[in-house]
Symmetry: C2
Subunit: 207 residues, 2 copies
DNA sequence: TGATGAACTTAACGACCGTTCAGCACTTGC
DNA sequence: GCAAGTGCTGAACGGTCGTTAAGTTCATCA
């Protein structure tokens, strides 16, 4: 009653030229995406290397040809997320540098889109960061802090009655709101969900 | 580098009459609270029975005198939370049955207070529910669903342009906002944090 | 053709985990 | 003073996990 082996091993030869212009993702990225999905639904410690391998159509030890170990897989999944969030946030702010209200709206737009596009990786980021060893964990926390500060700066300009600590509370509250998307599936289509989350977040932050 | 044993075993004899009117908590509850804290910070699978025992001042196997097993500890921690949330929500709604706006405000008040008072158990509830076996997990999900429906009903009365699915998206978004409190510590005192979260949640929900 | 190297397999290791069991210490009620 | 019972210890079990190692297959290319 452990893991129903539902993943079928792919044809094993897609190595050469892809059937069309579609760029072949590297095997490493492919495995990483599978691992992220498993981590997100069963928890880091709830998934074994054999589980990940089985889901990718290989045995557990085969994974060591692509990653140094299990912790390295988690780090490889989490670090790019923090980097993309920070880079995206900085870009949106730079694009509307003179108008803090527009900057906030752009931040919300960006974050909602990101969360809706990457629910598994967002859930991982929220729940499993502490399973990393010190070094990559510190790196990610630093990136997170910089991202939060972008929001805090925008908020303190826009709402002068807030001090930095209070703006930080609101920023985290906004993340909680926007990151709630992994918890709910269909029923409402993606565009409408994005609209609801955008409007709710902006209302929550503009007091 | 695993677990610094900082918990000191208590005097072991507080069994008789407490020194004053303070009601002695049962050993079971005491252990449960310790376990919840560990689960919340290191994850269910990241904590061993020996870890929990050590933090409570006993060995691992001693825990089997109070709980049937590790999963039973998690269930014992999570089920009362769902029950309290549902009961509290129903009570607040019944108390303001004629005024949906007041009902929503009461729900927000209640949930924010609960989240601020029990951050560890809220985090557990969010992250580790899937580690339970089917039976208790279904029970908890049923309680959760009923609690969410209280919010959904209040929201659909208050905002007639929303269908049930959209109201559910907003309800989960509000939970995400209010449950963000475990992620941030001091810097802003508790009363102010409650005020910020209350105002933000009401703004987010009232469109 | 034959060497190269990537991707994978099977087998095995040491460590740790949840759980069980037999027995000991100590308090309580008779 | 004695029996009952609670709470605990220490040792041990079967199982699982992350990881290592050695060997196999096979496409690629000189």
């Amino acid at each position: 009653m452990t893991l129903e082996q539902s993943a079928v091993r792919p044809p094993a030869q897609t190595r050469g030229a892809g059937p069309a212009g579609q760029r072949r993702r590297s095997r490493r990225e492919e495995i990483l995406e599978i691992a992220v999905g498993l981590f997100a639904t069963r928890g880091y410690h709830g998934v074994s290397m054999d589980d990940i391998g089985a889901a990718a159509g290989v045995t557990g030890p085969a994974l060591y040809h692509h990653f140094a170990g299990k912790e390295a897989m988690l780090a490889a999944a989490l670090i790019p997320v923090s980097e993309q969030l920070l880079a995206g946030g900085q870009k949106r702010i730079a694009e509307s540098s003179e108008d803090p209200a527009a900057a906030l709206a752009a931040l919300v737009d960006f974050h909602v889109e990101f969360a809706l596009a990457n629910p598994a990786v967002i859930a991982l980021h929220l729940h499993e960061l502490d399973r990393l060893p010190e070094e990559p964990r510190r790196q990610i926390r630093r990136l997170q802090r910089l991202y939060v500060e972008e929001w805090v700066n925008t908020l303190t300009v826009l709402r002068e009655e807030l001090n930095a600590g209070e703006a930080r509370v609101l920023a985290h509250a906004a993340f909680g709101l926007m990151n709630s998307t992994p918890f709910l599936g269909g029923e409402v289509d993606r565009a409408r969900r994005a609209e609801l989350l955008r409007a709710a977040t902006l209302s929550a932050l503009q007091g």
